[in-house]
Amino acid sequence: MGNGGAMIRILVLVAAVLALFMFPWPFALVLGIAASLFLPGAGLGLGILYDTLYLVPGHWPVASVLGLVLSISSYFVRSFFKARIING
């Protein structure tokens, strides 16, 4: 992936972070999934940031758990696609 690809990665990641503050959570979730596909750890990072900002006592940290699931899933998805490309 060239400079354009790197730029897209950064833009998606920045948009996902800004969405936590500005947009409804479903929109932030979609951007989080997109960011995770580019950078698997982004899901977990975004989930933790979300809970840091909004979590109130008595709730499970749903966003962090979802972020973790997203990160693990996207890691395996990326591994799968890499393997497919290498093996033809």
């Binding site: 500005m22 750890g41 990072g45 900002l53 749903v62």
Partner: protein, 251 residues
Amino acid sequence: MQYSRRRNAFLSGSTWPVAAGLGILVLLFFIFRTFAPDVLTAIATPFWQTGDQFSKSAAAVTLPFQNTSEIIAERDQLLIENETLRNQNAVLTAQVGDKGALGNGLSAGVLARPPVSPYDSLVLGLGGTDGVRVDAMIYAPGGIPIGVIENVTSNTSRAILFTAPGRVTEGWVGDTRIPVSLVGKGAGAFEASLPREAGATVGAVVYAPGPGALPVGTVLSIDADPSSPRSTLHIKPMVNIFSVTWVTVGL
């Protein structure tokens, strides 16, 4: 001679720095949240304010292109105003004999609300330096209690709404003030359970304790299973938490 390296399925050489970065990130957020919440909210506040302005601007831009939507929006606005007036009337009625009970509160702008925050919480633009304290009640326009302050930093505070999932608030239903436990269901909705013979009706006003009994919603529907001795009340809140732009914080 061939050497083989043991391959870790989860952490290859290139993912170690990412994992380490995430570990640092987790640690930083924990430190921010626990020891320096002011720093985090100071960083976040401009973004929340920008988001709030962005929502307002987007609504203003799209309005001229929505003839039908414009009429519907106006109707909705009138309905809200009508409901607010009805609420104010109910509050005043409930407070007869308890004059000035609400007292003076602090008007606080809402920086973040559902659905931006998914936990039925509000981030307010007033904090400890303005006199906000933990456990203070917050009221929507019309004097309707909607939650309590849960966390305070210097310049911001976070409130948890009564409608947060699983949160239990004691209250009353109907003119005869039948005691009931209101259970938050999230997204601004309540549920309650009552014995079938209690006599709750659809449309009955639901009250929460405040200075007196303050109306918080109306009974939308009642699920009465013939095999159960209790019926479930679905309660429609009087305040649309998705559009609350300012609240009053009790002192």
